[in-house]
Subunit: 295 residues, 4 copies
């Protein structure tokens, strides 16, 4: 399939590389062109503009946030203006429910197809082609994505014909991850202050009831207070929790855990944590109890 | 080994039955004697009193709460007065850190050995002999428990020489479970109000990042709002969260998630939920968002 | 002074009436023209458009929210395009810090003066000319407002040369009021469930430590659960708490009480409380404790 | 009237002095006898024991907490054993609802009268004889207290025939004060980080909607971060918030603000704040936002 790929951060680059490997024709575009070099060396075509990347059956986007997506999709000379009628925009970014609704409406009016397809998985998972993909959109559009999704992910979940539902699921998933971080932070502050070894404690947890990898991954980061370098930076954590709260506000759903997490992230950022991994919010419970490296 | 077993609720009965099956000599005692009938039929000796059950190498207790344990251990004619010097008290109950400290001191002064050994696992897990046992106490005392623990559990974690550390670990584990319940309740309130099927959503979660059985177990209960009959009743949930808060207060460890959960449990109980499963706190987020059977 | 007044809700109408009484020439505009009738009968000039109301030394606006202000100030044919160079826009609305910053910038570039002057006081206070006015802006611009402020208020506080600082102060004041509501709701749930008469309790509070009128006003509403008709409707309360949270997010200031209040307002609105007074959030503590008319 | 007074801390000493001034015969007792010296010099009789102080028509107690009251009332040779039948115990201490219930029962069984009469007011208010007294007990017993209350306070509120109701009211009042502290801390963190002068801001608040002295008192302490010396120490604040939570737990009343405050107090104490005034919890919002002397 002939596709364009816009947004070559660590996630996007890995995803585009897997499309290439699977034999798709990929033209790549990134605002800082140097990020495309490795992919071009691997066989991708360098697009000089968003418009050029849109001369495809489908254009995939993997961008940082709402602002970036608005600019790349709705700006002058951007995707909405450039994508041929009938072609497909697959948006992988973690964006707000509200923006996804706007994109769905705009693409619909322009005669373009739109699938919202946020992913679960960190860059190493993306590189391995093992992402979980949550797809929202018209069934025939989602069906057209299948060969691409197969190249990038291990499984696709098509939950709803509404594209924005996929965004909500992604947002809620990140909210649940943040809950794991906060709860582990509090539990470790409690047992740690009683003199129990935090790593042995974590081993007990993950060997018994909490066998999911997320407990091991985040538990280790918190037990060792290893919050740098960031796999997923704290400001992105704040962004996602805020997206959950915004969705909740629009739907009239109070989310007290998300409120608590938002305050934690703000506290972390106010105190110099902007470059840390988002699991550093789990370290705040240690600090508040007079423990921790920063205690 | 010749042991006494006091406290034959659903957990205690299953544990005593496994001791019998493993060939240990078990004399059983319960305040309501009828609860001992099945075990006696299976080969246990009926003890007429706590004191009689204490004529053993070790006495095991599995009781509801601090009040019951205080009465059975520290009351007139109770374990402390009845257990021979050098014999062992193994306390499996989920009790407070403070009471466990008192028991350790009292048994030590009486020349008795004391191991605190709370367990993770519901009655069906106990019946299968697959409990996880967290043991705290002097290493030589914990070692003496090995043939008993092997009969009742699949693995023992000996984290600390302080008996009360085992209680803290157990309490913190139940706190983490309650966090899973609350976070799933909020996430389902959010996606449910957007029209996403909650069971499909849960399937996605547990197939991807949240593969631990606790997510599936509690997620199903919340998705279907099946809070009755109670596997673990709401008042016990409140008890355990309160134990976490009490331990945190003594150690000067703020636990904002536990505070939130305590308020949730009180709200549930104030509104008639005393007979429901503790996962019903996950239904409060549905109610607060104007959804749910009680919405 | 010759002024225009845009936005004739209950607050705006009372404020414009006081300007008239003080001898100022007032041309009035409202989207629904009928709201201007009484003022015109009292001597005001009916402006046919925003632009017409802007043919003045100063234009005052008193509008519902950011959306209304954006439209009336920044829209086609709106204040920014219509107000003469050197003339003054006095914005009394409770709007976001971010929008107030945008207005300051836009007016500055257009050579117009801008004073942000939100007010404290309900409609009866406005009618009595007893508002408290918080003014932010260049000192010479604020000075020009003096004869107008004297007609409408009992005292002006000029806290900062930055217009948006006045908005932040107003927002924080409403946040503090909401805290009073929530704390009274919880205290009354507690003493009420113990059988203490809530009105006698309130009398004790306001006769001793909590003598401020806000405690009496909101305390009575909560004690009697008289949440209708709304003096200040619940959705406006949510708006103001959300403005506080948005300002806190921009400044990296966690506000856990505001987070808690936001969830309370969402819960209230999700359960049919959109037409109630914002003090109805104080009734949620009653409900959660199994009391209250809706208990 | 001939009375005994037990507990001569700063509050108790000032209250006993006012009884003396009003002409009552006062025998005084304190665990550390030196604290009685000034009162003895002013005409009080030094009691050598609790029993001696009980040889009176009434014995008044003003003690630190539940533990002290339990010991002085229910211990060996303590008030319950020493007070004549028909004599009166007036308890001014801020104690738990549960303990007050136990005292009422015990005194009733001993044929003694019991009035629970906690007070509002700091030591300077006590010295001026201007306390507010909340009295709970049988009307005839409360009536007997009148000449004493007149000497110590400016007004008595008799809310309930149940002594423990007075304790609940006192506890709830301190909870409301703590809410004022927390809300001012958050509001000042917000406006302070925007560059607004906190003292000018406080002046605005107290000149407009928040005219109660508690806003001025605590607002000044927070604005200036003057948390030492302690007028009311942080551990006492934690004690009172915990009493509110305990009462709420017994009554099944969730109190989310009290939960939040409890966590704040624990955080303060965990980080070395045990000697600070309880208003220091208002400084935590400053710290969490990266401001404050400790920021």
């Amino acid at each position: 399939m002939k596709v364009g790929f816009i947004g070559l951060g660590r996630m996007g680059e890995a995803m585009a590389a897997n499309l290439l490997k699977a034999g798709h024709g990929v033209s790549v575009y990134n605002r800082s062109p140097a990020k495309a070099d490795a992919l071009v060396a691997a066989g991708a075509v360098r697009a000089a503009s968003i418009a050029e990347a849109c001369q495809s059956e489908a254009v995939l986007t993997m961008l940082a946030d709402d602002t970036a997506v608005e600019s790349v999709v709705l700006g002058d000379g951007a995707i909405l203006e450039s994508l041929p009628k009938g072609a497909l925009h697959i948006s992988h970014s973690t964006i707000s429910v509200a923006l996804s609704e706007r994109l769905a409406k705009a693409h619909g009016e322009a005669g373009q197809a739109y699938v919202s397809a946020p992913v679960f998985g960190r860059p190493d998972v993306a590189a391995a082609g093992k992402l979980f993909i949550v797809a929202g959109g018209a069934p025939e559009s989602v069906a057209r994505c299948a060969p691409l999704f197969e190249a990038m992910g291990q499984r696709t979940f098509a939950l709803s014909e509404k594209p924005e539902a996929a965004n909500l699921v992604k947002i809620s998933g990140n909210f649940l991850l943040a809950c794991v971080i906060e709860s582990l932070g509090e539990a470790m502050a409690l047992v740690g202050k009683a003199g129990i070894d935090k790593s042995e404690y974590l081993d007990l947890l993950t060997s018994t009831l909490f066998g999911a990898p997320v407990y091991r991954t985040y538990g280790n980061l918190i037990a060792n207070e290893t919050f740098s370098p960031a796999g997923f930076a704290a400001p992105l954590g704040l962004k996602d929790v805020s997206l959950a709260l915004a969705a909740g506000e629009a739907l009239r759903v109070p989310l007290p855990l998300a409120s608590l997490l938002r305050d934690r992230f703000l506290s972390l950022l106010a105190q110099g944590g902007a470059d840390l991994d988002w699991s550093a919010v789990g370290g705040l419970a240690l600090r508040d109890s007079g423990q921790g490296k920063a205690g």
